[in-house]
Amino acid sequence: MEIAVIGSSEFIVGFRLAGVQKIYAAEDDEKLRKHISTVLEDEEVGILVMESKDLNRIPPRLLSTLENSIRPTVIAIGAQEGGMSLRERIKRSVGVDLWK
């Protein structure tokens, strides 16, 4: 299994330096969507790394697919609201906001 990275060109170049082969530069929304669907269909990808600010740019349906996806697992890194979706899920399932 491999790791895939989608993001702006500054974001992904560092991962390339760490040896990640599957890096996709997403300059505009159209490309972002296309790359995400490519990665979702790729059997070899185990983890998908994205920038959290990119998550605001993709359509809600795709976003919920990403959030619920287990293979590949989607990890968003970046400035803020990293664990937001997970927090929402905890609230919904357990009934209490445990993520403090």
Partner: protein, 209 residues
């Protein structure tokens, strides 16, 4: 099951009693499963918070390094160095079973590399490049760890939700309806018995005259 669909017969009563017993047993077991899952979830929760914080820290460090490198070396040079890196970090997926929930165990192989294994020339590049590469390797390691924990969380949460739904459905819907039907049949049968008795007495009174 609406009450009017219930046939007030003895066999139906026996069936219902059996069903109620079964539902109660299932309810108890599911309740235990739910509690177990929540306990397990709490264990993972602490780890998840730590790994999130760790990830953020590593990411900030790595992006600082790459920004620095950008000013020192220029984008083209970084890209050239990056494209010569050959060794890919691969991950190994195994699965683990927590109370019937299959969660992945991700193991990272060969994320960290020695300076000489990276593939770019050492003489033409600056030490800052090496440090950036190390920072990103650490970040990738941390991403892999987070991925395992977050997947586990997601799966556990899904399972908790469905188990909770099942428990609630049994507690508030299935069992009350079944016991209502049982009570109805019991009452109806008693009523029929009394009617029968009364009829017999009536007949006896008429024949003895």
């Amino acid at each position: 099951m609406a009450l009017r669909d219930v046939k007030p017969t003895r066999s139906e009563l026996i069936n219902l009693k059996r069903k109620i017993k079964l539902s109660e047993r299932g309810y108890n077991i599911l309740k235990m499963k739910r509690d177990g899952l929540i306990l397990e979830f709490f264990k993972v929760l602490g780890e998840a918070k730590n790994s999130r914080g760790d990830l953020m820290e590593k990411y900030e460090h790595a992006s600082e390094m790459i920004a620095l490198l950008n000013t020192l070396e220029g984008t083209i040079n970084i890209k050239a160095a990056a494209f010569s890196v050959k060794a890919t970090p691969t991950i190994d997926l195994k699965s683990k079973n927590i109370m019937g929930v299959v969660v992945p165990e991700i193991e990272a192989a060969s994320v960290r590399k020695g300076i000489t294994d990276r593939g770019y020339g050492l003489i033409g590049t600056s030490p800052a490049l090496d440090e950036t590469a190390t920072a990103y390797e650490e970040l990738v390691e941390s991403v892999i760890r987070s991925a395992e924990i977050e997947t586990t969380m997601k799966k556990l949460l899904d399972e908790i939700e469905s188990t909770k739904r099942r428990v609630n459905a049994l507690e508030f819907k299935v069992i009350p309806e079944l016991s209502e039907a049982r009570d109805f049949i019991k009452m109806r049968l008693d009523e029929m018995e009394r009617e029968e008795l009364f009829r017999l007495k009536k007949i006896k009174a008429r024949t003895s005259v």
